[in-house]
Symmetry: C2
Amino acid sequence: MKQSFDSFLKECRERVERQLEQCLPPRQNDSPLNAALRYTTLDQGKRIRPCLVYAAAHSLGPINSDTDHIASALELIHCYSLIHDDLPAMDDDDLRRGRPTCHIAYDEATAILAGDGLQALAFEQLTQLSHATATTALALVRELAQAAGVAGMVKGQAMDLFATGTRVDLDYLEAMHAHKTGDLIVASISMGAQSSGCAAADTLKNLRAYGRAIGLAFQVKDDILDSEGNTATLGKQAGADQLHNKSTYTSLLGDDGAKTMLAQLYEQALTALGQFDERADHLRSIADFIVSRDH
Amino acid sequence: MKQSFDSFLKECRERVERQLEQCLPPRQNDSPLNAALRYTTLDQGKRIRPCLVYAAAHSLGPINSDTDHIASALELIHCYSLIHDDLPAMDDDDLRRGRPTCHIAYDEATAILAGDGLQALAFEQLTQLSHATATTALALVRELAQAAGVAGMVKGQAMDLFATGTRVDLDYLEAMHAHKTGDLIVASISMGAQSSGCAAADTLKNLRAYGRAIGLAFQVKDDILDSEGNTATLGKQAGADQLHNKSTYTSLLGDDGAKTMLAQLYEQALTALGQFDERADHLRSIADFIVSRDH
């Protein structure tokens, strides 16, 4: 019997939660660092990147323990980036998912170190695969390093920083988000697919196209939610981007223009999955979820 | 003819400089991030970790391009840790090696991102080995992740943070430095040795013992220099540790006690190399250099 999307998401979240719990150092009374690592990672987040890892693996073959390690690696990178992104010198956010951010709950130094530690832990996860060959595992390390690094997520963050307080054009905004959030989303899908052990080059190419579309869609939707949202629903300061005078899709295109763009990206994502059978339905549902979510 | 130690160090520094230059993104007018990456990495530092990588490789077999990649990976991790360590929320240092630190030369946000990016770049370097098998390369990724991460360097930094303003005992200080600087030094030696392709388990065990001894010796010497030093010689604020009320070997043991400890560690380092032939002379010279340096 085909598993419902809700039941699939629940299983993904439980699996990655177990894996994260297992790979983090145990909480110790004397270590604020370990407490901070657990506080920021085991926070019942949406786990979108892990869900993408699992859904991509599922679209090609069975999910296995390698998929768990890859899912946790992607989530660890995401968590580290949130901690550093929230710091006073960066976005200066006090709240995240309705809770004090790491540097508020602990302190700035601990938050910097916790982020640094999570990044190393992410790479370590990829050295513990048991199904993949060492060659594949090493290729996954390279893919994660590139997606997270100075040509990927970090580059996007720097572009974001550079753009704050200035009005940038749509090309810049698109390149910025393609790096800032897109590269890690594409890596989630590509790396998850490779955990199936049967990802052909053209299959990966289509999955990456799907990833680029939903990655951008995710950001456009975020901007729409931020433009419309309120603190109660979002659990973070609504309109924070406007407050910091950042260019967004809604500020450049208007709310309606951003919604049109979102619909186009959704279509692109589904088109990229055109050759996939019903095993890719969870990927299709994730695209639905991204465009229709209210937080 | 046997290469002199000075000529060996010069060659090591030139090799790692070339490799770092090659792996960093090119300087672009529009990117403060790339400029910051180059400013903090290509700064003609002492390159102690790369020199250890090369010396360990040389003690067992020929240095090759894998050694260059490993040396740069270790230096990139070291550079990232310095950038983050210098931040206002951490040690709050304005000068490093006589130059403004990254967050002074650029800004805090760029410094946080530059450090994050260098860490990812370090792991990427290890995916580009051409002599080592994928299995060995993956083992090197694991070793670096563990040495740099929440059970290694980051743990040591957190222990340092936790100890600031309180008086800790010698056991705590030793464990703190074993993680904060020791783990990466041991990894430099062990990973360098593995680039030779012929590192047996007991050989690695001896090299790691050498590494633990010189790692600790390096810190004891740093404390002695800090206690005795002045700004002109060190290029950083002298007595900064005292200013921050940190426990040091000199504050716990006195200058003479610290010097006795340094001599003992030097002996331990040489003893660990007892079974090695003259190809390990550069490792012996590095031990000499660490205990006798004046900055």
